[in-house]
Assembly symmetry: C2
């Protein structure tokens, strides 16, 4: 029996009263117009209104709220800032949405041991702001970092530009206080990395809300680098840019970030933001950030310039000053928003390929683009092979969305075929669960489901996410789709 | 019912025949004198002869062997090279020992994507040897790396000197082919780090043989650094050495390794190995390795020298040449063997503390040493707070072992009390399971047990390890202890 089939006609009044006892009247949202906000996350193409929204402030309140759901057999979905791009925080019918937005306390700052402990509603950027005065920062930096919250980052194992060198969220989470789906509270990991027993911290990070809610998160912070340099290299052939990426990594250089944009993206950005830095006639540009000691940055900068030129770069410019660096990044950060100006609608894909397949995959995307008759702009984390092709279309044209979805799906299948992955940083959520069997055997998926079932035996925590289910991956898949992705600045 | 209580009088003949069908007659060890080798791993104080030993060569053979055990309800224990120090590969009565020593193939080398795929019996050091010609290496380097195998490293999530900068085994395993306790074969992770779904790779690494056997292991390899420098700083006060460690890390420098030895260890090493480099009158020395680009190493070297001197170092010497660097390391590498010359017996402890507690814990160990009347030599991975106190004693003195165990246990409890851990790199195994409840609540341990039960529902895979059980953590705990640790060069 699927969770949402249970008691669809339930009487919510007594349940609401129970929630109000825990979080107060102002901690429960139940009016239809207020619930609108919570219909979807950053993936606006899927929408479903929750029955009620609960806003706890403490671990204990989260635990009590989860226990109420457990007692009444009510499915629930955890939501952070709602910026996720795979529908991981999408409500299901007649569910309770547990929103951590009011859990915004920094609970501990320990500079000596290089860690902070935060509640899940703390915004990603605040962590760095809290410790930057002392020369530290928090490395994972999704492009939505000024609005996304750490709880959501943990659920989706978020990445970002700097994750090439420093690793994704899971590499920076030392410990978690968790509320499990039975309402019990457990501590996993701790304040040091060397913890015996099973690595439940690592298991929980990236579990997309299916195993419980993290209510206290211990994060590793890093010393800010002494020097930073951003290089822009422009190429007339996209294969050359791909070859430069491989050569830089092959030389043992690990840039803090290494991003690629193609001609379509470059021109979209220059049209909209007008950085004046990106050459409009380039087939592709690379943005490469190098950080470390001053001497190290200087040495690596020289090597990167040399490698780019040896691989056919026309020009390479390098900027050390903070303001000029930001200007170079500005276009990349606006790339998705700018794509919105190229076309009435666009569909963003998130796939991963082994770095060595860059040139091949770009050629294939070009072929698919021509075959389907839709333009594709390419913007991506080249250093770790994480592609974000943007398929441009007009939703007003009947049948366009379906064709674009098919095209985007073909790109994804291609990623898996060459040894890559369905998602680099946006997660599986509601959006990609039907693709999981492209990547994993039935037995592999069954093994993952063991974990889900043992943590979440009643299936109440974030049902219908992450794993394919026959019902939702069949013909009913598109039943509650309304319109395609409209987000802009959340990457 | 405990696994080993099942059918103790079983008829092994038909089972042996089944194994022989799978791995051939020479793949089954059954003669008592040959089984002696397999009575214990590197922790020689616990001994138990297995019923039989099976030596498979392929994933399929491992799967078939596990299925035979499953069918006959026979408990089994996986063993790699047998160098583990926590009794993780200790047999239990009437068990089958599945030894991966013949699974020694390097299955794939992909330099472009910086990975290798190996069978579990491949020796740690071979991985680097395989790729060093092309300028790559495998980072995790337990001191036993010339004899320990990758399968065991995965089971115990092994560390090493270079793990301070590069992370432990789990940070270098991209994917695994696993044989689960029901004999099924699954693939977890892959060849790229960005895999969706639950991180079963991370869950399996460090699970100490309780969830299955890894039969193919995909490892990340790194580009060898351009330059390396080893510094030796000597101090007259151990607190100063501790303060220097904190100051170096606090300055944002991440040495490849940072090790401390106290006066007792220094003199033991000089007596035995005679490096001629370690000042015998120093209270403590630090050995600090820095690697990276030449410019980076030069800059960091200058800063480390400055920090050590500012924190009271009498002298700091630095060596760049490979031969001289090896000479500086030689004493550290021989420290455990040398301790054997200080005293007829010694007990090695493995605990972790937050780095900031270094000075405090050393003082406490000194107090405990005086209280119990046993000398303690300190040798440890100072950079990550991983202590290896060596308690010196004479096993011929009645009651000495018990006192020493109590003293070592007090040190461990102290580690946990100040926010540290029961083990840095040796694992829990049979040795420390009774301490797990010092570190985890009942609910935390129960949550870990969920994982064990779902993967290993019959409890046949490595029973009586990792978690405390009332029977073995009660008065019967010492029943099968024979004598104290005698290993020497396995660190």
């Amino acid at each position: 029996m699927l969770a949402q089939d249970r008691k669809p006609q339930r009487d919510w009044q007594p349940i609401i009263k129970e929630f109000e006892k825990i979080v107060g009247k102002d901690g429960v949202v139940r009016r239809k117009e207020e619930l609108l906000t919570y219909e979807c996350d950053g993936l606006t193409s899927y929408r479903q209104r929750p029955a009620i929204v609960v806003l706890p402030r403490t671990t204990e309140q989260v635990a009590e709220a989860v226990k109420i759901c457990d007692r009444h057999d009510v499915p629930w979905v955890a939501r952070g800032a709602g910026t996720g791009l795979s529908g991981g925080a999408l409500p299901i019918e007649n569910c309770v949405l547990i929103v951590t937005a009011l859990m915004r306390k920094v609970l501990k700052v320990d500079l000596e041991n290089q860690l902070v402990v935060v509640q899940p509603g703390v915004i990603n950027n605040w962590v760095t702001q809290t410790v930057s005065g002392a020369g530290f920062y928090y490395a994972p930096d999704p492009s939505s970092q000024i609005i996304c919250s750490i709880g959501g980052n943990v659920a989706e194992n978020s990445g970002g530009v700097h994750c090439l060198k420093y690793g994704v969220t899971t590499n920076h989470v030392l410990g978690l206080k968790l509320v499990l789906p039975d309402g019990s509270i457990v501590d996993v990991g701790g304040e040091i990395p060397e913890m015996p027993g099973y690595d439940l911290t690592g298991l929980f990070v990236g579990s997309e809300g299916t195993l419980g809610i993290a209510t206290e998160i211990t994060l590793r912070i890093l010393k800010a680098p002494e020097a930073v340099c951003v290089l822009l290299a422009d190429f007339t052939r996209i294969e050359d840019a791909g070859a430069a990426v491989s050569a830089i990594t092959g030389a043992g250089i690990v840039p803090a970030g290494m991003e690629m944009m193609d001609n379509l993206s470059i021109n979209a950005v220059e049209d909209v933001v007008g950085t004046g830095c990106y050459p409009r006639d380039a087939t592709a540009i690379l943005l490469i950030e190098i950080d470390g000691l001053e001497a190290e940055v200087e040495a690596n900068q020289a090597r990167v310039v040399e490698i780019c030129k040896a691989n056919g770069a026309r020009h390479v410019t390098a900027e050390i000053e903070a303001e000029k660096r930001l200007k170079l990044w500005k276009g990349r950060k606006a790339a998705f928003a700018a794509a919105g100006h190229l076309s009435p609608d666009y569909y963003v894909q998130d796939g991963v390929i082994p770095r060595t397949q860059l040139a091949f995959i770009l050629k294939e995307i070009e072929d698919l683009s021509q075959k389907y008759g839709y333009r594709v702009a390419n913007v991506f984390h080249a250093g770790d092979g994480n592609l974000h092709p943007l398929v441009l279309y007009d939703n007003a044209v009947p049948g366009a969305l379906e064709e674009v979805e098919e095209l985007a799906g073909e790109i994804l299948k291609l990623c898996v075929k060459v040894g890559g992955s369905l998602t680099g940083e946006h997660g599986i959520g509601a959006d990609k669960k039907c693709y999981m069997s492209e990547m994993f055997s039935e037995k592999d998926l069954e093994t993952m489901q063991w974990i889900r079932e043992v943590f979440n035996p009643k299936g109440l925590a974030n049902p219908e996410k992450l794993f394919p289910t026959p019902r939702t991956c069949g013909e009913a898949a598109n039943a509650f789709k309304t319109k395609q992705f409209e987000g802009a600045e959340l990457f």
